[in-house]
Symmetry: C2
Subunit: 195 residues, 2 copies
């Protein structure tokens, strides 16, 4: 499949260009990038990359990258499947963690976890939690809440007698807010970065 290898190389060149310039090249820049001496020559591969979803056409015919091309991470299977090293020449789909994890960028924040009250849920001190404000929590959601003036992270539950918060650590106990409770946001993801 010589055609696929060719496209893969061009996509890699485009990705390299994007990494340094943070924009899509013009047709003439692509011609130089690909080694053509006429910019008309790049129309064919560009059309194919658009069909494959790596590029898109913007106003005035200008080319822009899709997240499929600018995402940073290739997706493989499971740990048990391991790395069967998917034939390096393939056009690997990539994903952007931002697009994958963040639905509403304007109301999403990153907090650092302090305390071990959610440790049985696999949330350790020092972990980062991705929190979405302005949502309505459902049962068993993990939320950031202010109870009696103090901010905590707990499981959220609602029953017939009202709202309560459960920790994920037997050393702590259930909280039934007496006064007011402010929901700061809902934990949508947990991120742990090593070193």
């Amino acid at each position: 499949m010589p055609r696929q290898i060719d496209l893969k190389k061009k996509l890699d060149q485009l990705r390299a260009f994007h990494r340094s310039e943070r924009r899509a090249p013009s047709y003439s820049e692509m011609a130089e990038l690909f080694g053509y001496s006429s910019k008309a020559a790049v129309y064919a591969p560009v059309r194919k990359l658009i069909d494959l979803g790596y590029l898109k056409r913007s106003a005035g015919g200008r080319i822009a990258f899709t997240q499929k091309a600018t995402g940073k991470i290739a997706i493989l299977g499971t740990v048990q499947a391991g790395f069967q090293s998917p034939a390096e020449e393939e056009l690997l789909d990539t994903i952007s963690l931002d697009e994958f994890l963040v639905r509403r960028p304007e109301s999403t924040f990153l907090l650092t976890v302090s305390g071990d009250s959610m440790i049985d849920a696999g949330i350790h001190p020092g972990d980062l939690v991705l929190v979405e404000k302005n949502g309505a929590p459902k049962n068993q959601d993990i939320i950031i809440a202010q109870v009696d003036g103090e901010w905590t992270m707990k499981y959220f539950f609602r029953d017939k007698s009202g709202v309560y918060l459960d920790p994920a650590n037997p050393a702590y106990s259930r909280i039934r807010p007496r006064g007011s409770m402010v929901v700061g946001g809902i934990v949508r993801a947990v991120i742990r970065k090593y070193q």
Copy 2:
């Protein structure tokens, strides 16, 4: 500070444009976006946004976004500090999870965790691990390895009698690879996404 508020609004408009078009607008497009009737008017705010690091100048004078502008997530403090709602009118720095977590995009992959052998390290079945290939593991790194034909995720250690792998679950036991061991990669981050 009326100047800051103005820039914040323009930056938001630029971010909205980038979300839909996935590129930076031209000067005439910016004029329309900002409500100016002359594209010469956008030079001043653009220069300021470049100075602040949200935009950059690319070849031919064209404007491109930096990751400071296209990142998706605002950074706050810790859980205990909570949301003191940082004066909505501020120019919030944002971060891209991709840039934050991925150092070498070309050799980074995402795997789904199966099995509970690392559960005491807070890595649960269904979690995603961000794995970097081609690195040399250090003691206590979590690695993906193929031992006797089977892929597993374990802590990596090396002592005077060789290499061994430890689980983070007392139900499993230490592995000292008899035959060959292939290191698939080093776990650089763990990501858990809810719902």
